[in-house]
């Protein structure tokens, strides 16, 4: 049976003053997909995430999530529907300990609903989620102040904050950036497991090799426009994409 798309973005456009950050971008996302979004710096990838999750209101175009028009809805409402995101710049709630960071999403209306209004001991739930997300190796870490955690844990914490919402789609904004190879290799199985749990992933990335291990499909953006879409390796053969990444002569 053919399923309708979980997330459908049509002709999304946004200009900041004279800069056309995103222009007529459309894409669709099926349940269980891992979609990669790549492109050079400043090509509008993060703006696209901001537009989709309601942090920035689009000038034109529509965003439909589960056949429901969410264009211009406030971010917390969109998150409560099950579409959430991580941020490129890791800013945890630095005055709280790591597991207390998860208390925030655990108090959202969405989690209250899915758990039947009863959470019981939120601290215990938070620690369970942190263990799932990869904090189990060192028992002291979940209790440390989030501001003191190393980057690898912050990325996991950011993912955990999304995962705690029990979401259907997570948009990961450069979750690999700044991580070492070994940290990335432990992050990949984690993302795969999250996807196995039925979460659809959109990954905005610069680390192409790692992304291609995960993504089923990629979108390439340049100057705010979508220049290619398809299976990773085929897309990289596209002359437009080569031009965007390597410049005209090399391509």
């Amino acid at each position: 049976m053919e399923q309708g798309p979980l997330l459908k973005v049509e002709n999304l456009s946004k200009a900041f003053g004279g800069v056309q950050a995103v222009l007529n971008v459309s894409f669709a996302l099926k349940k269980g997909d891992i979609l990669g979004i790549i492109g050079p710096n400043g090509s509008g990838k993060t703006t696209l995430a901001n537009l989709t999750t309601g942090f920035v209101k689009p000038d034109r175009g529509t965003v439909r999530f589960k056949a429901r028009d969410i264009t211009g809805a406030p971010p917390h409402k969109i998150a409560n529907l099950g579409l959430t995101r991580t941020f490129q710049v890791m800013r945890p709630y630095h005055s709280l300990s790591a597991y207390k960071n998860l208390i925030v999403p655990l108090n959202s209306p969405r989690v209250r609903q899915t758990r039947g209004g009863k959470l019981g001991d939120t601290d215990a739930v938070a620690i369970d989620i942190l263990e799932e997300i990869g904090f189990e190796r060192d028992a002291r870490v979940p209790y440390k102040i989030a501001g003191s955690l190393p980057l690898g844990y912050l990325k996991r914490l950011e993912l955990g904050r999304c995962f705690a919402l029990n979401p259907e789609v997570i948009i990961c904004d450069e979750i690999f950036s700044g991580l070492s190879m070994s940290e990335i290799t432990s992050m990949i199985p984690l993302l795969e497991r999250i996807q196995m749990d039925g979460v659809t992933l959109v990954m905005i990335e610069h680390r192409l090799r790692e992304l291609f291990r995960l993504a089923d499909r990629v979108i390439v953006m340049n100057f705010g426009q979508k220049i290619a879409e398809g299976i990773p390796l085929e897309v990289m053969e596209d002359p437009e994409v080569k031009k965007a990444y390597l410049g005209r002569e090399r391509a």
Partner: protein, 326 residues
């Protein structure tokens, strides 16, 4: 012991021995007993000053809650005082209700009113919210003067007062103590954690599906409850209401008290208010120049002791715990 078990029971360790428990209870008990016995040692005049200090303590507590736990620097303390004071005074003057009945109504009414007025400003952050909230007391003051409503510049005198001097003193002191411990508890509950999250990173709170405006409204409501109670109490303490309920002192002194006592400690600002108000009373002869003196105290603490007194003493006290005689 297994390390993870140790970590999880960290909060419980003190219960294992009497000395540890005593060590934790001592500063708290000292504060409560100290505040409750203080009136017995003072004469009539300084008892009044203590009552005023209690009002400032409530404002400082509210200021600290909003500034350090929500990220809203609120300079609208005078607005909370004014709303509570006017509502309570007017109810008493026009409907003849007793002071003890007017105060709770005005606390709630004043808090609802000031929260509603501040809602449009809640989108602003940092200095912008501070400026807008600072504007409201002046705004209210000039409306009352220009329209000559609620007694205009004269105010309304001969309001009902509280039954006797002991009710006056202990009402405010008990409220201060309850408010302090309630808010200390609140900031570690889930709602408090969400508020602290909003201060640290409001974008992430939004992405977590939480409506930050509704939580900010709740926080402002709690802070204005404290202020409105102070105002309502004040109008019955002096049996008078007037535009000086919107005086700048109510907005400025709590900041000085918070900085002096230690921002974010909650108990610090309360103690700061109990130290600064008698000082400002002793300097009454200087009139409006007192604001300048607050500013000097503020600058002095920011430069020389930015952590504030309570953080400093807390550190010394914890060092004392590890003291060993050789």
């Amino acid at each position: 012991m297994d390390r993870s078990i140790k970590v999880r029971t960290e909060g419980l360790y003190a219960l294992s021995s009497w000395t540890e428990m005593l060590y934790l209870i001592l500063p708290r008990a000292l504060l409560i007993v100290g505040l409750l016995t203080l009136p017995l040692l003072l004469d009539m005049y300084w008892q009044r000053v203590l009552c005023a200090a209690g009002i400032y303590a409530l404002l400082a507590l509210g200021f600290d809650l909003l500034a350090e736990y929500v990220g809203l620097v609120c300079l609208g303390g005078a607005f909370f005082i004014g709303s509570g004071g006017y509502i309570s005074g007017l109810l008493n003057a026009h409907l003849g209700w007793s002071a003890l009945f007017c105060i709770p109504i005005a606390t709630l009414g004043g808090a609802i009113f000031s929260t509603l007025v501040l809602i449009p400003a809640l989108r602003l952050r940092g200095i912008y919210f501070a400026i807008i909230s600072f504007m409201f007391p002046m705004f209210a003051r000039y409306i009352i003067i220009a329209l000559s409503i609620f007694g205009g510049t004269e105010g309304i005198s001969a309001l009902g007062t509280l039954p006797n001097v002991w009710t006056e003193i202990y009402l405010i002191l008990v409220v201060v103590i309850i408010a302090l411990f309630a808010i200390r508890r609140l900031v570690n509950e889930d709602i408090g954690l969400i508020l602290r999250g909003i201060k640290d990173n409001d974008q992430a709170v939004k992405a977590s599906g939480i409506n930050i405006t509704s939580y900010k409204i709740k926080a402002v409501f709690i802070a204005s409850l404290l202020g409105s109670f102070g105002g309502a109490y004040l109008s019955h303490l002096y049996g008078w209401l007037g535009i000086s309920l919107f005086a700048m002192d109510f907005s400025i002194l709590p900041i000085a008290a918070s900085v002096m006592g230690g921002m974010g400690t909650l108990a610090g600002p309360v103690l700061g208010a109990f130290a600064l108000t008698p000082l400002s009373e002793a300097l009454r002869g200087f009139g409006q120049l007192r604001v300048v003196i607050y500013c000097f105290i503020l600058i002095g603490f920011i430069v020389y002791k930015p952590e504030g007194l309570l953080n400093y003493f807390q550190r010394k006290y914890h060092q004392f715990e590890l003291w060993e005689t050789v």
